[in-house]
């Protein structure tokens, strides 16, 4: 007999054992349920994405949950089957001991190989996603927005647009934006929730993040690092508008109508 045939025979005889069949069917059912859960729940909870970055993050959540499903199911199916089939149903200590199995090298090796492969997959996936986020910003000249956090509000300025200052973020759709983020006092964290980007605002340093909004609408910036008394209120609106609307808004802010300028 050849070696593959030997291995095949062993696997077949293994699969014919009642506990293997039981565990297998529980595992298959659990995996199916978990995959369905993975496909529908995590990404939906995160809401509709407003940028390719957020879209990638939601994909990652779905893919990782799918990938984790068979592993979680493997552990849980053995646990569940052991309770159904091997539970000792008396009040005292079991009269006999279980089989003295001290280990199983093929199973351990298989487990190790599978978990390593899974780990390598996660890593490659993550690196590729990081790469794509940086690459997306590389093509076009981005719109620069300077973000300043302070207790407890955000302020934004547009150095390329005549230093407009504003407390609500206006962004043109499908235009790469680069945020230069800093803080006046303590550490804040600049989080555009629906766009899936976040970077800390550190006093004395400037940090950078970028995104390309691809959905019209109003979104929200929240502070994601506890920054004192009114941390919960440190929010700002993000308006993603068409390129024309953005240009009009910027023009309006650069030369404010006389009647709305503050009295001397």
């Amino acid at each position: 007999m050849t070696i593959p045939a030997q291995v095949g025979g062993r696997v077949r005889s293994w699969m014919n054992r009642p506990e293997m069949r039981g565990v297998f069917w529980i595992w298959a059912a659990m995996t199916a349920v978990l995959v369905v859960f993975s496909l529908y729940v995590p990404a939906r909870l995160m809401g509709p994405p407003a940028s390719p970055t957020m879209h990638a993050v939601e994909n990652t959540m779905t893919v990782f949950t799918v990938a984790a499903s068979p592993v979680a199911a493997a552990v849980w199916s053995v646990a569940l089957y052991s309770l159904l089939a091997w539970r000792h149903r008396g009040s005292g200590q079991p009269e006999t001991d279980g089989p003295p199995i001290r280990g199983n090298t093929p199973v351990t090796a298989l487990w190790l190989v599978l978990s390593s492969l899974l780990c390598v997959f996660l890593l490659i996936w993550g690196l590729a996603a990081m790469q794509s986020v940086t690459a997306a910003a590389a093509g076009r000249v981005p719109l620069q927005v300077n973000v300043v956090g302070q207790q407890w509000l955000w302020s934004f300025s547009y150095p390329g647009q005549g230093d407009i200052e504003t407390d609500q973020l206006y962004l043109p759709i499908d235009q790469p934006v680069v945020f230069h983020v800093t803080s006046k006092d303590v550490v804040h964290s600049f989080w555009v929730v629906q766009m899936g980007i976040k970077i800390d605002a550190n006093p004395g340093e400037t940090t950078v993040t970028n995104v390309t909004p691809n959905k019209l609408g109003t979104f929200v910036v929240r502070c994601a690092e506890l920054c004192g008394l009114l941390h919960a209120d440190m929010e700002a609106a993000v308006h993603v508008v068409s390129a024309d609307d953005f240009a009009a808004w910027a023009r309006g802010r650069r030369s404010p109508p006389v009647e709305s300028s503050p009295p001397k």
């Binding site: 990782f64 552990v75 053995v78 199973v107 980007i197």
Partner: protein, 648 residues
């Protein structure tokens, strides 16, 4: 406990030995602490005019003086002074210090017996959990509706910080404190710890730290979360000084305990207990406290620098003076990530020790378990910056920290394999400890998988600082860690107290806590994914449902924990008297009688096989040791009398 009291009344302490320590106890310690604190306050505030009534310098000096006075009052400095003067302790002094013939009084002294220290740790841990749990209920009550107004933002932030720090300290000591001290030395066949006086020192330092921590509540709280990020911590009220002092004292306590427990496990194992015959729990405890040895001094240095920033206007974390908040985050997480394993490893491995007993099978893959512990310990010191992906301190390094973090999933996965391999085809005896194993298998998988999302850099950009993170680490620290500690308590309760735990109350509490736990933190995962930040006093209506569900789950946990407390206290006082080995386990702690004699073993045992030989029959004695008497055989009464006389 009641028996011990009778014993105390019947047998007053003998007069020999002890010296000054005979007069010192918890009361003199508190008196000393209060006296020193008052003197420190008077000198710093009135005489040296260092600042106002509650200024940072005055508060810091007062708290340092409290800790010093408390340690003086408990007698911690008596030993070193006697050493300096060359008046070494006599055998009688050592016996007094070990608590010989002192009944319940020994629990309130600088007692060196590892079993006393273990019980003291257990009680301190339970007190900390009670405080932290009450604060958790307060937090969840405030979050029951989007704008409940139950707590103002100032109170809320203060409560969140104190809850965090209390729980971190409680979870760090919850396994290595009670079980590492009480059980581990007996498990390896030792009469006590390697350094019994350091053992008492680490416990009393922890006790000294608790009032400092609680004083934060009256000094404006810890409004920074448990992480105490600078420079927010630089502008916080004097409660922050209590925070830094708590951590400094606690770090000393943990480092001392770490040195002591590691040395004990490395040098005091019984004859014949080779590394392959050492119970896996010993590995878990050593991994935990071994990690604590380098980790906590770093934590301490982060807080010393913070204290200097606050009290002397130093510029470590203040950007305007050339400091950097990134320095704090680096120092903090260099400790902070190993600390996660300091908490989780011993708890999960306690459950790994329990599994063979209740499946009546050998541990599956002992060497695999050991290797995975080593792997986790080794990797855990290389992953700290995954807490800092969004800080911007070194964006180019994010990829490498993602790599190290994801690598940890491989040894962690092997821990699961060991446990399910042990369960495989076992005679599953579903006692309370075994139920904790199953609960951990459920919770820790969820905690682990959600950890993988957070290790992915782009996903972390979206999720960092949200409720998702809060739910994730509660699944690991509480779902795996605390569940493991409760399982360990159920398992070793008969040995530690001599009584069986009330099974029905235990069952009710188990189900309430586990169901409540999953409801609470599933709700929190949902609102975290939807975008709710952590540590917010009120939130958008979008998150209302998830938070309401969370709060209901939390109340369920609260009720369950109260029932657990009832089960522990009532069983301790008048539970059924436990036999010496109620579970039929094979580790050495079950071979000593109940109640355990002062030095555990009259004659030190010789180990001839590992403790997992279920289903393998009794090992045959090697021919050279045929004259040895197996454990469990009736002991020779004459020999026992001899040891009694030689001891007294």
């Amino acid at each position: 406990m009641s028996e011990a009291m009778v014993e105390f009344a019947a047998a007053p302490p003998s007069t020999g030995g002890g010296g000054l320590l005979r007069r010192l106890n918890l009361l003199t310690a508190v008196a000393g602490g209060v006296l020193f604190a008052a003197i420190g306050w008077y000198i710093s505030h009135r005489i040296m005019q260092l600042g106002d009534f509650g200024s940072d310098r005055v508060v810091t000096i007062t708290l340092i003086c409290w800790a010093l006075g408390f340690m003086v009052g408990i007698g911690a400095f008596a030993g070193p002074l006697r050493w300096l003067l060359g008046r070494d302790q006599e055998h009688e002094d050592e016996m007094f210090l070990a608590g010989k013939d002192q009944g319940i009084g020994r629990y309130f002294r600088f007692t060196t017996d590892h079993k006393v220290v273990g019980i003291q740790y257990l009680v301190v841990t339970m007190v900390l959990f009670a405080v932290g749990g009450t604060l958790a209920m307060t937090i969840r009550t405030n979050l029951i509706t989007p704008n409940s107004g139950f707590l103002g933002p100032q109170t809320y932030n203060a409560v969140v910080g104190i809850h965090g720090l209390v729980m971190i300290i409680a979870t760090i000591v919850m396994v290595t404190g009670p079980f590492g001290n009480f059980i581990m030395p007996i498990m390896i066949g030792a009469r006590d710890m390697a350094f019994p006086r350091l053992n008492a020192l680490s416990l009393w330092l922890l006790v000294a730290a608790v009032p400092i921590l609680l004083s934060a509540a009256f000094l404006g709280g810890i409004p920074t979360g448990w992480t105490g990020y600078a420079p927010l911590a630089d502008q916080a009220p004097p409660g922050m000084d209590a925070y830094t002092m708590t951590i400094i004292v606690f770090a000393m306590s943990s480092a001392i305990a770490g040195v002591n427990i590691t040395t004990t496990a490395l040098t005091m194992r019984a004859r014949g207990m080779t590394w392959s015959r050492t119970p896996i729990f010993v590995y878990g405890v050593v991994a935990s406290v071994g990690l604590a040895i380098p980790a906590f001094p770093m934590f301490m240095s982060a807080e010393v620098l913070l204290g200097m920033d606050r009290s002397f206007g130093a510029q470590f974390y203040v950007a305007a003076g050339g400091g950097s908040p990134w320095l704090y985050t680096n120092l903090f997480w260099l400790m902070g990530h190993p600390e996660v394993y300091v908490i989780v490893l011993p708890a999960v491995i306690a459950l790994m020790e329990i599994t063979p007993v209740f499946t009546r099978k050998p541990l599956f893959g002992f060497n695999v378990a050991v290797l995975s512990i080593v792997g986790i310990v080794g990797l855990s010191v290389m992953v700290w910056a995954h807490h800092m992906f969004t800080t911007g301190w070194a964006p180019d390094l994010n990829g490498s920290f993602m790599l190290t973090t994801e690598l940890i999933s491989i040894p962690t996965g092997l821990l699961f394999l060991v446990i399910i391999g042990t369960i495989w085809r076992g005679r599953v005896w579903t006692t309370l400890p075994m139920m904790a194993v199953y609960a951990m298998l459920w919770n820790f998988i969820i905690g682990g998988v959600t950890g993988i999302y957070l290790s992915d850099v782009p996903a972390d950009y979206a999720l960092h600082g949200s409720m998702f993170v809060t739910a994730h680490f509660h699944y690991t620290l509480m779902g795996a860690g605390l569940t493991g500690a409760i399982g360990a308590l159920f398992y070793w309760f008969p040995k530690m107290t001599g009584r069986m735990i009330n099974k029905r109350a235990g069952l009710v509490s188990f189900w309430l806590v586990q169901i409540g736990f999953n409801v609470t933190f599933m709700g929190m995962f949902a609102v975290g994914l939807a975008g709710q930040p952590r540590r917010v006093v009120h939130y958008d209506h979008l998150f209302a449902v998830g938070n309401f569900v969370s709060t209901m789950g939390a109340y369920c946990i609260g009720v369950g924990m109260l029932i657990l407390l009832y089960a522990v206290v009532s069983s301790w006082r008048h539970g059924a008297v436990a036999p010496a080995n109620p579970w039929g386990a094979k580790t050495l702690e079950w071979a000593v009688p109940n109640p355990i004699p002062l030095e555990n073993f009259e004659v030190l045992p010789v180990v001839i096989s590992d403790p997992y030989g279920y289903g393998e029959g009794d090992p045959v004695l090697p021919p050279t040791q045929r004259e040895l008497v197996p454990v469990g055989a009736p002991r020779d009464p004459v020999a026992e009398d001899d040891t009694e006389t030689s001891q007294s």
